[in-house]
Amino acid sequence: MNALVEVINLTKIYEKKKIALDHMNLTIPRGKIIGLLGPNGSGKTTLIKLMNGLLEATEGEVLMNGHRPGPQTKNWISYLPERTYFHNNMRVDELIRFFCDFYQDFRPERARQMLSNLNISENAKLKTLSKGTKEKVQLIMVMSREAQLYVLDEPIAGVDPAARDYILRTIITNYNENATVLLSTHLISDIEKVLDEVIFIRNGRVILQDTVENIRECRGKSVDAYFREVFAC
């Protein structure tokens, strides 16, 4: 079974009848780095939240290895939200212990190595760190797991270009070959070089799912250029 995640007829309607996802169907394979791309309000974050069980679907379902979101799928998914979500009073080393306790696949030595590479002290309290450093700590925690699926929502949006390179290197070097990385971002040109596949979303529907190689060969342009063409205002 190659499909890691199956999105079946998934619909999410918020209050005031705002349709975020409209009968979406999608299959996410194993062992790929996939870009989840679309303009603001296209439904990327809603899809990600539904995969993580942070929202209830209005209709349809998301299945990971055949299971609906729950404690079991949360063991398989390593999720980086688009916001700072750790308790500000925690120290970095407390965070490592916290992840060790709850995620069997967490590798503390890997986390410590990355923290050391970025000169982030384990004794530092999160509230003393800058927003960018907090985001790096979050990414380190998420990428220090041996998960089956890494879901990264805007992982490079809030950091400087130098840190972006480090983060992308971190993503590429820290996931195992059988795992999939689902990357949602607007900064396509920065991540294009690491992607295997892309999914374009518009108005809560998938309008394209293809390999980066195919897009370059068949369309004769980069993913970034093609995205601008498809989503031109």
Binding site: E15, L54, P71, Q72, F86
Partner: protein, 281 residues
Amino acid sequence: MLGKLLKHEWKAVWKVPMLLIAILMITAVMAGLTFALPIWDSEWVGLPLSGIMLICMFYFAIIAVTVGIMIYFAVRYYKNMFTDEGYLTHTLPVTARQLLLNKTITMSAWNLIAMLAVVISIFVFFAIMILSLAPKDSSFTRELMETIRAWPEVLKSPYMDGFEGFCIGGLLVVLIGAFSNSMMLIGAITLGQMVRKHRILGAVGAYFGLTIIVQIFSTVIMIPMMVKMMDSSYYDSAYGAQSPFPILTSFYFLVAGVSLVLGIGLYFMSEYLIRHKLELE
């Protein structure tokens, strides 16, 4: 996993309530000690005023411990479950039941600790006050020991019939009250999340709404009990050297029963809402 959740929750929360309890105990001792000082007869009004201020501080510390600790836990519950921190809480590989049990157990336990701390602080305050005001010879100690020795005899009197049941009832009210008070907050905050655009306002509204419903419901349930208490035959027997404890015990058991049903109802409502209606912003 529940054990791990409890371990991390306890580690994260103990400092604030313990600080408040420490302040309470210090103010209890200081307020009690004012009676040992010769300030009350002072001609300068500032000294007795300072004593009164210290006693007021003790009173405010009691409020800070009882109300403050509950507010602290309510805010923490809201932040952990329904704000950005919820992204961590709800992506842990645990069930909604484990998450909610963790919060309920911790909040109830601290509610109970707060009540216990208040009782101890009042005891400390009065003990220091009595010892300070008591005659300095041995007569006070002697009288105190005699009163303690006479207690078993007092318990045998017909006025004290059913006193043990009354104590058990009181204990049940306290224990179940710690749980149901916590569930009132948890239930109201969780219910408030259904008002998606005004979640805090929704929680506050839900708390007042729940309180009013509980008050009305309790009053309706208590009416038969009150009627019975006002019944002339009861008063006749009460004045006729009969113990008031049996009727008070049934009152306590009724309160405990209502609180338990309320707490359990709110627990399952909250669990249902977290499991099926969670929507993080």
